[in-house]
Subunit: 658 residues, 2 copies
C-alpha cells in the first residue's frame, strides 16, 4: 500500500489510469507535507519490469495460490467446499490479499482493465473472501478451520490482525482502482469488528492487545484515508502505542521490548519493525504528532547509518529474521528479505512525504534498483526470499525458502505477492506535489502530474535512466500566469551534474543546491524544456571501517545500481580468489544481449592462486604473505538486481583489494 | 567418549585411578595404531579446570536435571510417579546419560570415590534408568510418555538411537570406572533390542534405517570394546554405511545426502557430522577398513583447511547448526557449538590413534584450550552453547540457548553435561603408547603410563604449560634392558624449541623433526630427565585470504591459546573502533589476580573516531579515507577461553589493522 491521500470518488475506470491521490490532511505540527503526484510510466527500465509483472507474475498468481491451498482454505471457510486447512503457516490468507492488492493496482494501469481475465480473477476472489467472512466481520481461515474459531487468543503468533491489515490494504487498492464497493465493505466490517474488540484498559473493549506482526496499523490509516472514518486512525494510534509494554512478552522480535517513542535503534524482526515504522510515520503525517515524527527520523537514521546493506537490503540474521547489531552486515549470510526491502520503500516514501527531505527518496531509489528488484527473476517467475551479497564457489545450498537459488514459490510465500504489489503500484512512489510545485523523486520515461494551488501541472519525461544520466523534462500543462517550483532530486550517489533550463545552467558547484533538491521556480509555459544530466561514471565504493565484513573490499556502483561479480562470467576458477586492482580505470559497456540489456562494468583484477597452505589456514603474520601466484583477469560486473538469472553460480558484491 | 581400548576387568576401585585402556585390536589394514596411555593430571592448568568440574559442575547436575524435568520423566516411565513428560525436546534423556558418563569418569579419579555423595547419586540414577527400561530393552521417555510407545517411527527427528548411544557410552564409562554391572546390563539389553530391529534389506530385521542424529554408531563400537561382542561392531558398521542413501530424506542436515565413503567435504549439522566421523574412524581402527580411513582423512583435511575457526570452533550457521560453505567463517555469527568442539576432540583423538600423525593432536590441543573451554565459565556454573568470535559494542542479546551471554542451563541442555564428561575424561586424550614406546600428545603436570612390549613405562611430568613452555619429564618406571622411544609432540604453533636429554640437545633446526614428533630412542633408566623448552612468544596470526570475514585483521596467540579483547578491559569507547598497530611489539604479562590467573598480552593500538559519516555509511573509494582522528590506546588481550567471565561486554578475537 502506497501512499497517503484519499482518492477522489471514482467515476469511470479509464479516467483513473494513474490513481489520483487525494490531499493529505496536515496535522497541527506537520511541516512540509507533500502529496503523492500522479505518475505514468510509459517506457524504459521500470516499464519493462512492470510489463513482466503485469503479463507473467500477476496473472500466474491465482493458479499458484490454488496449488498452495490458499484459495481452497477460503472456499472451505465459506462453506463452499469440504476439506482441511492447507498451508505451513497461520498467515497464508495474507498471500491472497497481497495478490489481490497487486492485481487491483494493476487494473488501474492503462489498458489492464481491458483484459477481462484479470478483472474476472479479482472479482471471483473478492466474492470468495466476502463469502468466507463471518457474520460478525471476523475472517481468518487458520483460526476458522484449525482452531475452532478461537480468535484473538494467540496474538503473538496468530497473525490475525496482520492478515486483516493486508485485507484492508487490498480493499483500499480495489476500491481506489475499480470503484467497486464489495471488498471495501468486507474490510470495513472486519475493521469495525476489530475496533469493537480492541482498546485500552478502561475503554470497555474486551482485549487490550496488539498483533505480534505489525501491519494492521498502517492499513487502518489507509482505511481512514479511503473512508474518512476517524475511528480507524485512532485505532491505528492505539495499536502503535501499545507495542513495547509487554503485551507480547516483551520480546524485541515482536517489537515489544520498548515503546517506539523511546526506541533508539531499529531491532528485532526486520519486516515487523519496518511495517510498524511505516505506521508511525503515517500517524505523524495525519495527526501531526511530533514525538512520533522524531522517533521515525531517529530510527531511520540509526537504521541507515549502521544496519543497511549497500543494496538497501535490511536484516542481518537468518535466525529470527533479525536486524542484528550495528555494523553487523554479513555478505553470504545477509538476510535482506525481499519483503524488508519493500517495507523499507514504503516507510521511506512516507518519510519523504512527511519531511520533504531528499535522502528518504535516495534510499527508496537504492532499494528499488537493488535490494528489492533482485527478489524477482527477470522472467517474473522465480523468486528470492533472502538476498545475499555473496555466494561462495563451493556453496552447498540446502534449498527451502531461504535458498540462495531462485525458487518458483515458497512455503512462506510472503515475498512474491509483495513484489507484485509494489511493482504494480510503483508510480505511487515517484513524485509529489505541494502548493509550491512539483517534486520529481525518481526518474522514469512517462509523465508526472500534480496540482499546484488548484491548477493542474503535467511534466513529460524521457530518459534512459539508469543506463544513461540524461533526463529530458517537458512541461505539458501549467498555469501560465503564476510561478511554481519544479524540484528535481539530485541522487545522493551523484557528485557531478548539469542542468539546462532555458538560459539557466546549474551544476554541482552551485551553492544553492545543498539539500538534494534542484529547485527551479518560474512561470512555466507548455513546451518548456529542462534537461538534467547526471554524470554516470562507474565508481568504487568503500564502507565505514566498522563494517567488519567488507574490510579491504570495494563495491562497484554506477548511478543507482550496485554491481556484482557472478562466477558464470569468470570461468576457470570462480570468485573466491579474485582481487580487484583499484589503480586501473573502470569501463562501462552496454550489452543489449545480456540479461535483458544491461550496462556492465569491466575492471582489472587478478586471480590469486595460493600455495598449498597445509591443513591449517591460519599463519604467522610475520613473514606475512602466504605464497601465491597471480594471474591477471578481466572482471565483468553485472547489476546486482540481475544476478542469479543464468545457471547456478557464485556471486559477490564486495570484492577484495588485498 | 574417550578412547578405543577394552578395559581390563576391574578389581578394586582404587586401583583404577587412571582408567586403564586395553589394547586396540589392529585390523588387517591398520597401520601405526596407538593405544591410549594411562595419564594422571596432578596440578596445573587442566587440574584447576577439572577441580571446578569435579567440585561444582558435576555435583550440581542432579539438581539441575531434577529442575528441568529429565529425572521426573524417568520416574514416570518407571511407574514410580505420575505426571506429564517435561522438556522441550525429544532427546532430553541424553542429558541424564551424559551427566552419568561424566560422573562415572569422575568416580575413576583419585579420591573421587571417597565422596560417597557422587557415587550415591550415580547409583540412584542408574537404578532409576534400569527401572524405566521396558522388558524388551527399549528405553526412551519421550516415546514412552508422549507417543504411546510408538517407537522407531520417526527416525529423522525422534533421537531414539541417539539417546540409546549416550546411554551405552554412559554404561561403558560406568562399568569401566566402577566395575558395577547394572548399567552395562541395561545398555546391552537395549543394544540387543536395537540389533534385533535394525538391519539391511534381506536380513530379516524389520527396519532398515538410521537415526537422524548419529551417536549410536560410536557408542556401539565402545560397547564392542567393553564386551567383546562382535555384533555391536557390525551393527555400528551397518549404521554408518546406511547414511547417504535417502533413508532420512536425503538431507545434508542429517548426513544423508551422500554416503560417507564418497563424501568430499564436511557438511550439514556440525555435531551430527562429527559424531558420524568419530564412528567412521572407530570402524577404520577396529576393522582396518582402508576406505573408511581414507574418507576420514579426506574429510578432516577439508574441515581444517576451510571450515575451522582459529579457536578450533566448528559450525558457521545458527540456522540448522550447519557447517556452512568453505571459508565461510563469520565472527559475530560464528556458531561454534560447544558440543561441536567436544565432538571434534573426540574425532581428532581417534584419528591420532589411527594414524599416529601429530596434527590431529594439534587440533585437539587448539580446540581444548580455546573453542571447547570457552563453553564453561571459570566457576563451572554457567555455559555457552554457541561461541562467537565477536560481540559488538551495541550488541542486543535476544537471550535463549544461543545467547552470547553465559546461561545457567539451556532448554536444549546438550552442552553442559558434554563439557562435564570431556573434562572428567580428559586424561584419555593426552598420551598413547605402542610397541615402540610412549607418545606424549598434550603436556600436563602429572604422569603418563604406558606399556612397551609388555613392560610398564611411567614418565612424570612437570610444567606450567600453557603459561610457560618448559616441560620437565622424568622417567619413573622403565625396563632397563631394552630401548624404547619417548615421543614428544612439537605443537604446530611452535617454531622454536630446544630439547635437553642427557647429552642430547635438539632444536628446531634439526632436520630429523619433520612430522611434529620429537623421538628419543634409547635405553632409559629411572630418574632420566628430559627438558623440553617450547618458545612461548606472543604472536600475530593472519588467515588465508579466502576467509573473507577477517580480511585486514590479525589475531593474537600465545602458545596454544587464542586471545581476545574484551570491552571491559578497554573502557571509554568499546572495541568497534580499535585498530592494532602491527609494527609494535607484543608483551606478555602474567596477571595472577585476573580471571583465575592468566597471562595477558599487551599490544599497541589506536582508537579511531570517525567523522560524522552522515546517514549513509558507504563512500566513494576515491579520496578514500573517511576522516577520522586517532588516539593511541594500549590493548589488553585475555585468553579466549576466559572471556565472558566478568560483566557483559563486547569482545573480539580478530582485530583490524586497517
Amino acid at each position: 500500500m502506497p501512499s497517503p491521500g484519499r482518492a477522489a470518488p471514482p467515476s469511470r475506470l479509464s479516467e483513473r489510469a494513474a490513481v489520483p491521490a487525494g490531499p493529505v490532511r496536515p496535522g497541527p505540527g506537520a511541516r512540509a507535507l507533500l502529496t503523492p503526484a500522479a505518475v505514468q510510466v510509459h517506457a524504459g527500465f521500470w516499464h519493462t519490469r512492470r510489463q513482466v509483472n503485469a503479463r507473467t507474475s500477476i496473472p500466474q498468481g491465482p493458479a499458484l495460490l490454488e496449488t498452495a491451498g490458499n484459495l481452497s482454505n477460503l472456499r472451505i471457510a465459506a462453506g463452499l467446499a469440504d476439506g482441511e486447512f492447507r498451508g505451513a503457516y497461520p498467515f497464508v490468507d495474507s498471500d491472497v490479499y497481497k495478490w489481490l492488492e497487486a492485481a487491483s493496482w494493476q487494473l488501474a494501469q492503462p489498458g489492464s482493465a481491458d483484459d477481462g481475465r484479470l478483472a474476472d480473477d479479482v472479482e471471483r476472489i473478492v466474492s470468495l473472501i466476502a463469502e468466507a467472512q463471518q457474520p460478525d466481520g471476523y475472517l481468518n481461515t487458520w483460526f476458522d478451520l484449525r482452531k475452532g474459531g478461537r480468535c484473538y487468543q494467540d496474538l503473538r503468533w496468530g497473525h490475525e490482525l496482520y492478515c486483516a491489515g493486508h485485507l484492508i490494504q487490498a480493499a483500499v487498492a480495489h476500491h481506489r482502482s475499480t470503484g467497486h464497493p464489495e471488498l471495501l465493505a468486507v474490510a470495513v466490517k472486519f475493521a469495525d469488528h476489530i475496533d469493537s474488540v480492541f482498546g485500552p484498559p478502561g475503554s470497555g473493549k474486551p482485549i487490550d492487545g496488539v498483533d505480534g506482526h505489525p501491519e494492521i496499523e498502517t492499513a487502518l490509516v489507509e482505511l481512514y484515508r479511503e473512508t474518512g472514518e476517524r475511528r480507524y486512525l485512532d485505532l491505528a494510534g492505539y495499536f502503535v502505542d501499545r507495542f513495547g509494554h509487554g503485551l507480547l512478552g516483551g520480546e524485541a522480535y515482536c517489537q515489544d521490548r520498548v515503546p517506539v517513542r523511546e526506541a533508539t535503534d531499529v531491532e528485532g524482526h526486520t519486516v515487523r519493525q519496518l511495517y510498524l515504522l511505516a505506521a508511525v510515520t503515517d500517524l505523524a503525517t495525519e495527526t501531526g504528532d511530533e514525538e512520533l515524527r522524531a522517533a521515525a527520523q531517529r530510527l531511520w537514521d540509526a537504521m541507515t547509518r549502521t544496519k543497511t546493506h549497500i543494496t538497501g537490503g535490511l536484516g542481518a540474521h537468518h535466525d529470527e529474521e533479525d536486524f542484528g547489531d550495528p555494523y553487523e552486515l554479513p555478505n553470504e549470510r545477509a538476510y535482506c528479505e525481499t519483503c524488508a526491502a519493500i517495507a523499507s520503500v514504503q516507510w521511506s516514501w512516507r518519510m519523504a512525504l512527511l519531511t520533504a527531505e531528499a535522502r528518504y527518496s535516495d534510499l527508496v531509489e537504492r532499494t528499488l534498483y537493488n535490494g528489492f528488484l533482485a527478489g524477482v527473476s527477470l522472467d517474473g517467475e522465480r523468486w528470492l526470499y533472502v538476498n545475499p551479497l555473496q555466494v561462495r564457489d563451493g556453496h552447498t545450498d540446502t534449498g527451502g525458502d531461504q535458498s540462495a537459488r531462485r525458487t518458483r514459490w515458497f512455503r512462506c510465500a510472503c515475498c512474491p505477492p509483495n513484489v507484485m504489489r509494489l511493482l504494480a503500484s510503483l508510480e505511487h512512489y515517484l513524485a509529489s506535489s505541494d502548493d509550491r510545485g512539483l517534486q520529481i523523486h525518481q526518474y522514469v520515461t512517462g509523465s508526472y502530474a500534480g496540482e499546484v494551488r488548484g491548477a493542474p501541472v503535467v511534466v513529460r519525461s524521457e530518459t534512459d535512466y539508469p543506463w544513461q544520466g540524461t533526463v529530458t523534462l517537458t512541461v505539458e500543462e501549467t498555469p501560465t500566469d503564476e510561478p511554481w517550483t519544479l524540484s528535481l532530486r539530485v541522487p545522493q550517489w551523484c557528485t557531478e551534474y548539469r542542468l539546462h533550463c532555458g538560459d539557466t545552467v546549474l551544476d554541482a558547484t552551485d551553492a544553492s543546491i545543498t539539500d538534494g533538491w534542484l529547485r527551479l521556480e518560474r512561470t512555466w509555459s507548455p513546451g518548456d524544456r529542462v534537461v538534467l544530466e547526471l554524470a554516470l561514471e562507474a565508481r568504487l565504493t568503500v564502507a565505514d571501517p566498522r563494517v567488519d565484513a567488507v574490510r579491504g573490499c570495494v563495491a562497484i556502483e554506477r548511478g543507482p545500481l550496485v554491481y556484482c561479480l557472478e562466477g558464470v562470467d569468470h570461468p576457470g576458477g570462480g570468485l573466491d580468489d579474485i582481487v580487484l586492482d583499484t589503480t586501473q580505470p573502470l569501463a562501462a559497456k552496454h550489452r543489449p544481449d545480456l540479461l535483458g540489456g544491461v550496462t556492465t562494468v569491466v575492471a582489472a583484477g587478478r586471480r590469486r592462486t595460493i600455495d598449498d597452505p597445509g591443513w591449517w589456514p591460519y599463519v604467522n603474520a610475520d613473514g606475512a604473505d602466504p605464497g601465491h601466484s597471480d594471474e591477471p583477469i578481466e572482471l565483468t560486473a553485472v547489476p546486482y538486481y540481475a544476478w542469479a538469472n543464468r545457471q547456478d553460480s557464485s556471486m559477490r558484491v564486495w570484492i577484495p583489494t588485498l
